[in-house]
Symmetry: C2
Subunit: 757 residues, 2 copies
């Protein structure tokens, strides 16, 4: 059977061959002959279809050769001749020019390739690594692309960002980040490490991933939003700590940039996490000290140590340092602005599908490889300092001096900076006592290269961090400033690189205290602290004058409903009652409700909470509390129905529901439930399921105050009560959620109303 | 006239002389003869009254001599002889023994004084300085005694601590702190500096002190509780920054230990304050670098620099480091416990009046001087290291080696530690590369001395800080641990002193991140960070197992109503409705109210806020809002009365009241107002004065949630609304304030109720 089948498939079925693209080219080629009316310059004159099939069936099954012949003879039919006649002189000239240009390019590229096998190897390896990272991100976990910090920030603000903290995200983030960083792309591992920490925290808190969770009792304690929030905060600070080996900086980063709510106990817990990170890192460093782990053991706890420089302050330094700060603010704001535009364009490209995403990533990779490899040719070689005896002391692969294309006794300073890992490049440019080592034009090219790469790399579909690209840019312009103003700058140029990096970070990310501490822990120079603070303050102030921080811009681009700490000024003039009136009326349930009404409420709305009312005696109504959708679904699923309208005893509910069941939010939809008509007529008692102490506001409360309350106490639902007391007044005016309090949404609601009226 | 008056006063008026204590002793002495029935061992047998008068009038006015004769002859009257006969043998022996003992003491002390003029000079100067500090505190600003940090903590929690942040406090704190630190007392300048920063912030925010305030418009903006809170937070962090030259540590201290509410903008502002402090300090250091300012220019930005030590981690160090941490926790908790007891005793003493306070301070000063001066005699002299050529290299007055009572070529190591300012002592004991320099017995004595002094110095009536005493104690036990376990301890002993200090701080004050950063900025050794974190975590955990932090203990002792972040567990089972029912009924006002009712409400209660109700149509009542007592008083003072019950227009109120008038809280009492009977019958319209958007809770809300809301949103009043809707139901159930939510007060209310029932 099997031996018979193959020849039949390969030779006997024309339709199948058509699908596989294995056919006689001339007979059915639509491009050449079939659609003559479409013939134009955009279409090739002569086109061949593929001849060598890629079909495995055909190749493996029968050894029939499908190789066809070529048409070197010009087929001078009418159409072809017409096309020749239609061509203008310009087009003919184009043709001739291109013929020669292509010949030139063939020669040039062959020569280049012969000469630059190194570049191809470099670019090829980078390409492969980027491909792996991008495919992982595109196929398995799209949310693992980017830094993940804005999503974590939104999560800790109370936004349930979907598919962010699962096992696929974790695995893709780890492998993808390794590949992306190794591929020489201009991105850091900080954001991904923060996300990795958060994923680990989430997986630990819920006892594993998806269906494979551990069902241990002591893990179930953490399977609630509140404990998970705290753990993810710990994870985020551990990530920063691991990235920069900055334990205090990590805690402060989580506090200043990531977390919305904070309490003293959490400070204590995150601190414990980062202390553990440091002890583990320290242990590995000790174990690997004597080179036992290859390249891994290198570098101590301090990444960019400039602690050996005695910083003395001179009045003359005030000018260049201030300029570094102001420029940092301006450049940071500009970076935010341009990155915003680039990300909008990238969003359009990425929406076109997986292939577009992949192509974008690979294109950026090719651009990166080309710029890193080719730009060093643009600068002349520098002779080594005679103090070293004419030969440059290259310290291994991460040394300060790269010979590259230079003769013996010379070095290429731009290659020194570009042909290194991002961390080594930073270390080189931060290195002190090297005022004359880098040329101004090299630094300017370096800055330009990393500006371009920093803008175009961030949005591609690989795990990427923003810190290191900004540090690289900032350090370059810091050193440039020092070189240009060298007659004023008395502090070491390496320290100017540090200051530039700090200023640009502050100008773009607008962090203060955490950045100071991170830089302190990165550079180990306490005496630099006052001047770093000064520069950061200037840069942040200048940056704030132009636009919001980069994370806020990304949050806004992603459309996450982030609740800002400060309400908009106009919110003071709007009451929550007015806001509730502009919304569809809230669906309220009675405390003992008909099943059909509950099902109807669940099916007709997507609300996650419903106010529960009661009518204890005639003429008097009562706001009993709030019931969650997931609890209603749980009650329906358990078919906890009562034939008559009565209040249940406490033990009845306790026998029915376990706390774990109620904590489970993934209860599924209401549509899957099959409830008979008889059951629809029965009752559900919501007494045991209702949260009787929801937070409430009076309808006259201003939206501004409501936002503060919502954010301060970390709410999901807020009930609005009437200010009036009397008969026939409903005890509930409305219900507000996060989405209702986002400034943009309020404006949409109010604006559409004024249109309708 | 004047010349005549003096003699008359001095000689002619016996009553006046009695008052001044200038009288004939034998005639009216009640102790010897008048109350013979009281004669006992407690009363002296022979007693003289003062003869030389201290009255300025008598001394200056007339040169009459009041010198009397003595009674060397034994007056053998009946009573005297009876007393002799009544004496037992034991008493006679006592008398004889004491006679000889006193003769011995007279000889000894004379000899000691001859030999130890140095001690007397030392003790005398200390005594004088302590006297100045204590008199200032006792007479002018009792609240300036102590560190002030607990009061600031309470203020930032929302407690209006009286007389804390005025000009007298500021001046007394500055002068008193200088005197107290100079007098060699075992106290630091950190707490006082924090208080000074807070006072400055307050005075700036209100534009000056008391009646001498600036009335500039742009200063009035800050004359409200909210802005003042932020400024005082800045002041507190600036204080810590100035004390330790630790800008980031200062911000974190304010964040972790002092402030209750925090937002990102405040982080940014406090950071700006501390940056300014550092730049100013740095400027002074630069100006004074070449010794132009005497002793002031000494020392750089880093107080206790141990940055030159390369810290390498060994597994063997784990044991002593863990012991340092555990001991730090135990000793810290013990310190808190004993200090609590001492402070209770001191409170009893201080309540006896100003003289008792003064005597206590001077007694502690004498004790301090004696212990510091005398204990070095207890240890033997140590020969100088032969490496220095037989002579100890004493580095000026703050050098590591003090000769004291030792022969040439020797030094007294205990004197080295004790005969220095507190800061220099810390620097000496932290100094690295000095493992063999200090003897074990010297360190133990040092530790014991500072334990005693640290416990007994804190509560006296001078400005005092807790940081430095604890650092001194901790450093001693850290070094002791290293010496005892020297076979395991491979890290430098100076670093063990640092770790000990950190552990004891953490064990007593229970701070974490801020302490790590402060120690980092104090010692400039980033490599020490992981091990410091480890030790701090252990010490805090151990300490928390025993008792609360020292600041919480002091807050509790002072009886300040501090609202804890975490409500008590039993608060979950109590609703605010139940709590309100246990209180006296809230006094509510109608929105247009009779003057007499308003006056009655103000006079009969001390509430600071009143709910305002309305009755818009028959059968319907409305919770209109909340009006502050100060605004009611302002309305009464302006006599803003209406003859009939009507609602005023907005412009009427705006013409009447300026925002500045309403912001002024010092409006005075209601008793001073004189309102005629006719006015009493008129009406006040509360519409323009009422805050129509107060925060509310429903009566079913648990007290635990209410506490969280109260603290999170920083409230003063919280209104309780009914959960029922219907006719004849009041729209307000009650009103809760800070005092109502303090756990202790709730228990008192509930307990007294259960007694009544």
């Amino acid at each position: 059977m099997e031996e018979e089948q193959s020849p039949r498939l390969a030779a006997g079925e024309p339709e199948r061959k058509l699908e596989d693209g294995v056919t006689d080219a001339d007979a059915e080629d639509p491009g050449c002959t079939g659609n003559a009316a479409m013939s134009s310059l955009e279409q090739p004159l002569l086109k061949r279809s593929n001849t060598l099939t890629a079909s495995h069936l055909a190749m493996v099954g029968a050894k029939v050769s499908h190789i066809e012949s070529l048409d070197y003879e010009i087929i001078e039919n009418d159409l072809f001749k017409h096309d020749w006649r239609r061509r203008s002189n310009v087009e003919v000239l184009q043709y001739i020019f291109l013929k020669w240009a292509m010949a030139f390019l063939v020669g040039l590229l062959t020569g280049v390739i012969a000469y630059w096998a190194g570049f191809l190897y470099f670019a090829g390896v980078n390409f492969g690594l980027t491909f792996v990272a991008a495919v992982l991100c595109v196929v398995f976990a799209p949310t693992a692309a980017g830094p993940g910090i804005p999503e974590i920030k939104a999560y800790l603000n109370g936004v349930d960002t979907p598919n962010m903290f699962g096992a696929p995200q974790l695995i893709v983030k780890i492998i993808g980040s390794i590949c992306a960083v190794s591929s020489g792309l201009d991105l850091g591992k900080e954001g991904p490490l923060v996300h990795i920490g958060a994923c680990l925290a989430n997986l630990l808190s819920q006892g594993g991933s998806g269906r494979h969770r551990l069902r241990w009792r002591w893990l179930r304690y953490f399977d609630n939003d509140r404990d998970r929030r705290d753990l993810i905060t710990c994870g985020a600070s551990s990530g920063v700590c691991a990235a920069f080996r900055a334990p205090v900086g990590g805690v402060l980063f989580a506090l200043e940039e990531v977390a919305t709510w904070w309490r003293s106990a959490l400070l204590w817990r995150t601190f414990f996490s980062t202390a553990t990170v440091v002890v583990v890192l320290r242990g590995f460093i000790e174990v690997c000290r004597d080179g036992r782990c290859g390249l891994f053991g290198e570098g101590g706890l301090i990444l960019f140590d400039v602690g050996d420089v005695a910083v003395r302050y001179h009045a003359g330094d005030l000018l260049p340092v201030t300029i570094v700060g102001v420029l940092g603010g301006v450049l940071g704001a500009l970076y935010n602005h341009v990155l915003h535009k680039v990300l909008r364009v990238y969003n359009l490209i990425n929406e076109k599908g997986r292939a577009a995403k992949l192509a974008l990533a690979l294109a950026v990779c090719a651009l990166t490889s080309a710029m890193l490899y080719l730009t060093p040719f643009a600068v002349p070689c520098t002779p080594c300092d005679p103090a070293f005896g004419g030969a440059c002391p290259t310290l291994g692969k991460s040394g300060n001096f790269k010979r590259f294309n230079c003769p013996e006794g010379h070095y290429n300073d731009l290659a020194t900076l570009l042909h290194a890992t991002n961390v080594d490049a930073t270390r080189n440019i931060f290195s002190t006592g090297t005022a004359g080592e880098f040329r101004l034009d090299s630094l300017l090219i370096f800055f330009a290269v990393y500006c371009v790469l920093g803008l175009f790399t961030f949005g591609i579909a690989v795990p990427s961090g923003l810190f290191l690209p900004i540090i690289l840019m900032g350090s370059a312009y810091g050193r440039v400033t020092a070189l240009v103003l060298s007659r004023f700058a008395r502090i070491d140029h390496g320290l100017y690189a540090v200051l530039g990096a700090a200023a640009l970070m502050s100008g773009s990310m607008r962090m203060t205290v955490s950045l100071v501490v991170i830089f302190l822990e990165l550079t180990n120079n306490l005496l630099l602290l006052p001047i770093t603070m000064f520069v950061l303050l200037i840069a942040k102030t200048v940056g704030d004058a132009f636009n919001p921080s980069i994370y806020e811009i990304i949050l806004d681009l992603k459309g996450l409903p982030f609740l800002e700490a400060k309400p908009e000024p106009w919110m003071k003039d709007l009451t929550v009652g007015e806001l509730a009136a502009a919304k569809p009326r809230a669906v309220a349930l009675q405390v003992v409700e008909r099943v059909s009404t509950v099902v109807e409420a669940l099916r007709s709305t997507r609300h996650n909470g419903f106010p529960v009312l009661d009518r204890p005696r005639p003429g008097v109504s009562e706001l009993h509390g709030l019931v969650l959708r997931s609890h209603l679904v749980a009650a329906l699923r358990k078919r906890w129905f009562l034939p008559e309208r009565r209040r249940t005893e406490e033990w009845e509910a306790r026998e029915m529901f376990s706390a774990a069941e109620l904590a489970d939010k993934c209860g599924g939809g209401v549509d899957e439930l099959e409830i008979s008509a008889e059951e629809m007529g029965m009752y559900v008692d919501l007494h045991p399921l209702t949260n009787t102490t929801p937070y409430t506001v009076v309808e006259t409360m201003s939206v501004a105050k409501a936002v503060v309350l919502f954010r301060s106490v970390a709410l999901r639902h807020m009930l609005i009560m009437p200010k009036f007391q009397g008969p026939e007044i409903s005890p509930i005016v409305g219900i507000l959620t996060r989405q209702d309090l986002i400034a943009h949404n309020i404006l949409v609601i109010l604006f559409s109303i004024s249109l309708n009226v």
